[in-house]
């Protein structure tokens, strides 16, 4: 089902995206454990409403809470959604825009193989960025003499990746229907932004893919919430299926 030559070609073409993603997320993750003290001073000196000072103070006084909420609830969450749509947006639309889709579709590959191989290569690229940067964050935490339990911290990884796959496949589905990779990525990113905004609406809070990615229950228990994981993987598969169906029905 997966074409290894195409898989390798996709990874070669994506290498600069992977390197850029690793640099940005890696540097951000590595700096988190070292910034906690500076942020404490900053919160003390900065004029701000008392409720905000109270929330920030709570986070900064509890290092595991600070690390989890900043990494899985903010930095990695935003980066993984952004890189998901940046990697997936041009996968088909970019080929169409560069006139290389005809080249690809005239090779001995089925449409199913093309989509699945591209999805696999993109998912691996995204997975590498999320996994490596999380490991860097963990190592930096130890280097800053702020150790956290490894199994506990890594339990946030799977929901984060599953949620990123939802946005990846959403952008892929839009990419199949477009001849502009940027447009596909921007629309998928726009939908993600709406979901981020939905977290501010009380009845929706905690019910979106975004909050499932932040995995607050894993923070408390150190276990993966399999219900949320299953839901996100099912949604990601549904979107992949929609992309596949649209691609099979379209003329190249």
């Amino acid at each position: 089902m997966i074409s290894s030559p195409l898989f390798v070609k996709e990874l070669k073409e994506a290498k600069w995206k992977i390197i850029t993603g690793l640099l940005i997320t890696g540097i951000t993750g590595a700096s988190l454990p070292f910034l906690v003290d500076y942020l404490g001073v900053f919160v003390e000196q900065m004029a701000m409403p008392e409720w905000a000072r109270s929330i920030l103070g709570q986070q900064l006084g509890n290092y595991p809470l600070y690390l989890w909420s900043n990494w899985y609830g903010k930095n990695l969450l935003q980066f993984s959604v952004a890189f998901a749509v940046i990697i997936a947006g041009p996968l088909i639309a970019g080929e169409r825009a560069r006139n290389t889709l005809e080249f690809l579709a005239s090779r001995p590959l089925s449409r199913v193989q093309i989509i699945l191989t591209k999805a696999a290569a993109g998912s691996v690229s995204l997975g590498v960025i999320i996994l490596v940067s999380t490991v860097i964050t963990l190592v930096a935490s130890y280097a800053a003499a702020r150790p956290v339990p490894v199994a506990w911290f890594m339990s946030g990884l799977l929901p984060q990746y599953a949620g990123a796959l939802v946005f990846f496949n959403l952008a892929l589905m839009l990419s199949v229907r477009s001849d502009d990779g940027l447009k596909a990525a921007v629309i998928a990113g726009g939908i993600a932004l709406l979901l981020f905004a939905a977290e501010w609406v009380a009845p929706l809070r905690g019910r979106t893919v975004i909050s499932m990615m932040a995995a607050s229950r894993s923070f408390v228990t150190g276990d993966v919430h399999f219900g949320h994981l299953f839901f996100m993987l099912l949604l990601a598969l549904g979107l992949l299926w929609a992309a596949l169906t649209a691609f099979r029905q379209s003329d190249v």
Binding site: P5, R98, E102, A105, S106, S110, D251, V252
Partner: protein, 241 residues
């Protein structure tokens, strides 16, 4: 061998008939030239042969495989050169050729030998390590040609292959096409360069508004066109009617 039977294809929900009940056969060992004015349906026909477009009606059989039932086997037996040499710009020339070699399961040793010969023939040896984005249009066209020949296809399908080629490369391509057909393989190509078609082709088909209006050897076409001497005059006579 290529066998096209009663094939039709239209666009815009049937409003534009690009190919209309087209039937023709190209035998092994034959070079077939496909001519026609702009928008006559040449590229649509070629895209249907290589499986890029699905015919609305009719059937296409290549090398014994039906394009609808065995599209992968059809594509595996075809070397296709599109009218626009768009290739992956972020790969180097050699990465591109290896990508194709892997895709068509060409063994390493065979691929290396063939690529070396073809790169020398098209004077691309010195550039093959460079990124394709630095190539000129003609160099890209040559790279696409080399890529299409790398797996020694039984059927060679080319859409306007001479465009962008320098005279030496155009000459080499004609040699390759002749050699290909002497080996019992099939060559199907579209062109606007009528001299090339006249000198190279065993048979020529002329398409106009999606319909095949003439098909045969040069002598047969001359006969159809009131004994006009050159292919240019034959073409003008037949496409005017």
């Amino acid at each position: 061998m290529i066998e096209i039977r009663n094939v039709s294809k239209s666009y815009n929900k049937g409003q534009i008939k690009a190919v209309d009940d087209l039937s023709l056969q190209v035998q092994p060992g034959e070079i077939f030239g496909f001519l026609g004015p702009n928008g006559a349906g040449k590229t649509t026909t070629i895209k249907m042969i290589v499986g890029l477009l699905e015919p609305d009606r009719g059937s296409i059989v290549v090398n014994g495989y039906d394009i609808r039932k065995d599209p992968i086997k059809v594509r595996k037996s075809i070397g296709f050169v599109p009218d626009n040499p768009s290739v992956y710009e972020r790969l180097t020339g050699i990465e591109y050729l290896n990508f194709l070699g892997d895709m068509y399961d060409v063994p390493r040793a065979v691929r290396t030998k063939r690529a070396k010969e073809l790169l020398e023939l098209f004077e691309l040896t010195g550039d093959v390590g460079n990124l394709i984005q630095s190539y000129s249009h003609g160099m890209r066209q040559k790279l696409v040609l080399i890529g299409a020949l790398l797996h020694a296809p039984d059927v060679f399908v080319l859409d306007e292959p001479m465009v962008g080629l320098d005279p030496r490369s155009a000459h080499n391509l004609k040699e390759i096409m002749s050699r290909h057909c002497q080996e019992g393989k099939t060559v199907f190509f579209s062109t606007h360069i009528l001299d090339v078609a006249e000198r190279l082709c065993d048979r020529i088909g002329i398409i106009r508004r999606g319909k095949l209006i003439a098909c045969g050897t040069m002598d047969q076409l001359r006969h159809m066109a009131n004994n006009k001497e050159t292919l240019e005059n034959v073409f003008l006579e037949l496409t005017e009617q």
